[in-house]
């Protein structure tokens, strides 16, 4: 199979895409011409303007269909592959029992001003997400969910008090890179509070984190949109067993 592909409308290789956008101009012939010009510059050729609608007197909304001339080379696509297997809750519990001989303690929080606990709750609450139960469901995981708008010093203090093996922070709503600043502040605080090599596993979750930026943020793992509890649990088990210097389960 060829590694080069094009978008698929209704025929292989037709390159068809759909696009909608708004231009800050009054709807008239010139506006439609402007929309087609944009589409051409974006590589849609021929471009078909299928819909134009004024929104107030100063804006026009367009829907454009067209064929793009770009080719996509699958061989050049780089993805980060998961380096650990996904475990069921039962397997994860067994692995924790085997390697840790006690429950794995996970402390979670939304830090900074973010009040949106939907992400951390999806991972931690027994209710879970996408049909999977959250970490509270795992008999060998002790979950301490600190909720929203937790201050970093409080998070560190709670993590120490609970003897946390892992700390999960969530950043959902963010502006002006607040999620990056908050996360860096968090990881710095943990490095300061713990002796080297004993910092808990630091995990950040949220839709805005850039894949692969763990080192820059000073944390161990980033999870993005759509992450399910079992992915997080499996990662924690994997990382824990690596740290214990034992073989992976």
């Amino acid at each position: 199979m060829s590694a080069v592909i094009r978008p698929y409308g209704d025929t292989t290789g037709d390159g068809m895409v759909q696009l909608s956008f708004t231009l800050p101009v009054t709807h008239d012939k010139r506006a439609e011409g402007a929309a087609l010009q944009l589409a051409k510059k974006m590589g849609l050729d021929p471009a078909l303007l299928v819909h134009a609608k004024p929104m107030g007197s100063d804006f026009t909304f367009f829907v454009v269909y067209g064929s793009v001339h770009h080719l996509v080379n699958l061989d050049e696509v780089v993805v980060v592959e998961r380096e650990y297997p996904i475990l069921s809750a039962k397997e994860a519990n067994a692995a924790i029992r085997k390697h840790l001989h006690r429950r794995l303690v996970v402390v979670g929080a939304c830090i900074g001003t973010d009040a949106h606990t939907v992400g951390i709750d999806a991972i931690l609450n027994i209710k879970g997400f996408a049909g999977e139960k959250g970490l509270e469901y795992y008999s060998e995981i002790k979950v301490v969910n600190l909720g929203a708008q937790v201050l970093v010093p409080d998070l560190v203090a709670q993590a120490r008090a609970e003897k946390a093996d892992a700390v999960l922070i969530s950043q959902v709503v963010t502006q002006k890179d607040a999620h990056i600043h908050n996360t860096m502040q968090m990881s710095a605080a943990f490095r300061e509070a713990y002796p080297a090599g004993q910092v808990p596993i630091l995990v950040a979750g949220g839709p805005r984190f850039e894949e692969g930026s763990e080192a820059k943020l000073g944390i161990d793992r980033i999870f993005g949109r759509g992450t399910t509890p079992s992915e997080v649990a499996s990662y924690l088990v994997h990382e824990m067993s690596v740290r214990k210097g034992k073989k992976q389960p």
Partner: protein, 540 residues
Amino acid sequence: MTSPARLDLDPELVRTARRLARHAAAPVVSIARRHTTVSVERATLRLAGLSGADHERVPWVNHLVTAVRDQVGLEHGVTTPVYDALLRGDADDLTTLAQKASSGNVSFRLPTGREEQAARRAAARGVGVGLKRIDSARRTRERLVSRLGDPRQKPWIYLIVATGDIYEDIPQAQAAAREGADVIAVIRSTGQSLLDYVPEGATREGFAGTYATQENFRLMRAALDEVSKELGRYVRLTNYASGLCMPEIAALAGMERLDMMLNDSMYGILFRDINPIRTFVDQRFSRQIHARAGIIINTGEDNYLTTADAVEAAHTVTVSQLLNERFAKEAGLEDWQLGLGHAFEINPDLPDSFRLELAHAMLARQLFPEAPLKWMPPTKHMTGDVFRGYLLDGFFNLVGAMTGQGILLVGMMTEAVVTPFLSDRDLALQNVRYVMNAASGLTEDFHPPRDGFIQTRARQVLGEAVELLERIVHDSDPSGDPPLLAAIADGTFGLMKRPADAGKGLEGVVKRAPGYDNPAITALDAGVPAPKVTAPKGGK
């Protein structure tokens, strides 16, 4: 318009539900009446006209309340020592007094006898100015509504604006009104609910929202007045009286003629971990202000459904609505002011999800026939597939149209993706208009059969709600807290355990002394001057 279809509910069970809600609320109200908070006292000073902040943007009301608390405590109320100091000539006005107090140059005392009476009278006059301002704002609204008119259709269309910059919000809000919005909500900056002060002035820097300040309120209301005149209908303005400054925000909203306020009885406790006592004390004061100001409250039941399963937790919405109704009535709010919340959050992959939504929405409609229910769009199951999301919003709108909801928060297909594009809002409004136009008459034809799926489900949810209320009123804890507080503490509501002696803002709670005086509370307890109905009633 024909009335929405009726459900065959057991009237005795409905009465039981209300009786239990009253039972659960009463001891908590009694606690609210025996305490005050820093925010209640600051709100009282705001009514007396104290505004502004120091060069570090710490409001003068915070300085003055702190100074009084440090010297003589707050258990007698802030106004008596404050007005006593004014009468003794420590300063000519409240601002000067606050400035002097902040640098430690005023010594407060608790006056007695004649001097106490004089201070109380002066305080009542001072605070009366703010209450008159609220009354006059209410009359202005009533005048504008009778001149310009209410929205022509029901539900009222509620749209959100949130840029962080009030000067960006204004043109967006005006554009939204021109596109058909009847109610504009300015979302607050994330995190404001946990600030123990109200920021000052016009603000241009917010996170995912714009700070609620008195000046921002004034600017936005003026802008909406302008566009209301242009459009020939009164466009309403909404903000949030929640979090640690609920009473102050309510006072500012009343004076600046906001029209609706988000105000939920338990949201701050459960979802923001604010101390339960602080919340109930602050809430009562803020709701009394809303009652006086003719403001419609919007409650936050949608939150229960976004954090739990919308089918399993359906009855928690009903319970919360009943408790919100009870606390609101006790604070003097009338039915037309109760925008009780509920939401379209059932997993669309579930068989019969739409029928379940209809059943739940009809139940709310029928339990609160005179309240302008607030119908909230799907958020939890908006996946980023904007096309599917658009369809889901269409079905949400259909339930709204078929069940006579009062306020409809317009769903955006880009929910959970980006802040809405201009085009998203336009498409969302087209969606609402199409559904209303095409199907709102269905209320005439739609009568679910007595023992059909919808009626059975509604009765089941009501039954579960009554069971939960029973559990709440029989709950208890070792420290002998009222059952509702014990229930909140042991995690009866969702998985969140919120004990009465923990949570943010606890340090701002003060037990009232026998001689406690607060002229605002005295006036508010005396009741609301002749109200006039201006809300979209359901079921008419």
